[in-house]
Subunit: 338 residues, 2 copies
């Protein structure tokens, strides 16, 4: 796929030491793709030079003199750092010089700048962030992940549409199953917004599979799980926390004494396969959906392998016309309404 | 501790085949405690008879002719099954014949009946359900778990107070740390209700440790994590779902072929220790807080070991005057305000 990705090389916890090697790995595995390395020339030039012959015109540096810090408030990042690598990467998408932008920088700034520069797609009130989680049968997208705290039923419907189009574009599933995150306690079945959203999703023409509960996420019941940003963020962080704790417990038990350490050596190949299966790096890359441009957020602490996955996801979304799919779907929904 | 527990022996997925053996085990490990087995006499008498000599007057049957089904709507369970084992167990608490009631039946019905029969404590608007989750350093209580979907800041404050008093009573922690579940994304830091609740908690006199995120739950940052019932339910179910998936992956990897099965045999003692550490049965028993009586909900699918843990938790809460602690704390809060 002949897409060009603008890479915010300065963003994230590790900056160019991760983003540049990841860009090279991405170019190797995507022979038709091109990359624009955005950031400080004095930093990037020496990193690119040894590989210049290998990639030729497929990679170039685009200078940007400033860097958005991980703790910069979004308003500051937007107003007073107009030559930041993050901003310039998004500008390149806006100008059509790149098909997608990827950044491991501060989520709030990335969303604010993307919204300001690119604007939202017709019919979309609020962009959303979609994260991928592993399931028993593959993986599932959950959105929103923290961009929108108080959502209306209409917003949740839009998240469902954007998520479904993302899965179509990236995973090539024709009619992805869309589930609405709800609670199953008999006391009450969800609040009013969720009830109204279920009604909207039911008549949306999407392949709506009804309410799903927190535990259903990992069963792969739905390809797309829709929820507001507060709930989605809690669910994602809870997942991260539990996985870390279980990992720590496993390490502690296998590291308890000489005997258990020997057992660990024997069990290593099996444990490695297990670990690979739930390796969060393989799920890195959260698309910002609903914008007039493809923007993918990498985890701030991503290593080169994880960052490469985010780049691949951006390329896949751009090559498979994610934006056109969302626009078409929104238009056909509005025709039905009219 | 000389407490008497009323046991809804008919509730849950397994009924008396689990609840009665659990009651016996509980009586053995709590030599001062008494149990009232509530349910159909024709079912319970033959189960009790062989043990009658062992426990003597410490255990008796209290007849109840009806059973609340797992899918009975709360209103039906309350109005048309007045002689259900669940209702009668709670009536025994109301009358003072028992110090606490335990049920593995339908959560909605249990909450509705408990609220109707026992009423709420002074100053408490809404009862809440508190669940326990394991952490790196011990365990933490999360509430609410699904009784209240739309909460005000005042409600969240009350959950914090009830949770703190629960930890004082059950875990004997003097000033438990109370955290407010929030999201850390830079885009927005929580909605208005959560912001207001943080302010109320800050000036409450509780040991408020500020906002915690989903991943902090498992770090043991707080003894009590406060959130609304929708968010809490999603967090709990997500945790269950992820744990089940990781367990399934581990089993699959160790069961892949003859060699990995041999490795599993070698690793068994280590894996067992790991499993024991995160065994959800040890965390069974979710207190319904804010009622004029101690009521503990067991997981519907609990086995005898899990159910015994729920009974022990009810006994601990009753023996350590959970209700008085909540009432005193609410009263001292109101004095400060006045």
């Amino acid at each position: 796929m002949g897409v060009t990705i603008a890479i915010d090389c300065m963003g994230g916890d590790h900056g160019p030491s991760v983003t540049v090697p990841a860009a090279f790995a991405f170019l190797r595995s995507h022979p038709d793709a091109k990359a624009i390395l955005v950031g400080r020339e004095d930093v990037l030039t020496p990193l690119l030079e040894p590989r210049a012959a290998e990639f030729g015109a497929r990679v170039r540096i685009h200078p940007a003199s400033e860097v958005v810090a991980m703790d910069d408030p979004p308003a500051i990042a937007m107003r007073s750092k107009k030559d930041s690598s993050m901003r310039v990467a998004i500008d390149l998408v806006k100008e059509g010089a790149a098909d997608a932008a990827v950044s491991a920088g501060n989520t709030g700034a990335l969303m604010a700048i993307s919204r300001f520069v690119l604007k939202t797609l017709p019919g979309i009130d609020r962009p959303a962030i979609a994260a991928v989680l592993p399931t028993l049968t593959g993986h599932t997208y959950v959105l929103d992940l923290g961009a929108n705290v108080d959502c209306s039923a209409e917003h949740l419907l839009q998240f469902g549409i954007m998520g479904a189009m993302l899965v179509s574009a990236v995973d090539h599933v024709d009619r992805p199953r869309v589930g609405l995150l709800n609670i199953g306690e008999e006391v009450i079945k969800g609040n009013e917004v969720v009830k109204d959203a279920a009604e909207l999703l039911r008549t949306s023409g999407l392949n709506f599979c009804g309410n799903v509960e927190g535990n259903d996420i990992f069963k792969g019941t739905a390809h797309v799980v829709v929820c507001d940003g507060f709930v989605g963020n809690v669910a994602l962080k809870t997942t991260e926390g539990l996985a870390q704790m279980l990992g720590a417990f496993l390490r502690e038990e296998f590291g308890r004494n000489l005997l258990t350490k020997l057992v660990a050596l024997v069990a290593m190949p099996v444990l490695k396969r297990f670990k690979r299966r739930v390796d969060h790096r393989r799920y890195n890359g959260a698309p910002l959906l609903g914008l007039r441009g493809v923007v993918v957020k990498s985890h701030g602490s991503a290593d080169a392998l994880a960052y490469e996955h985010a780049l691949a996801k951006a390329a896949e979304a751009a090559a498979n016309k994610l934006l056109d799919r969302i626009v078409d779907r929104m238009a056909s929904m509005n025709e039905v309404k009219a």
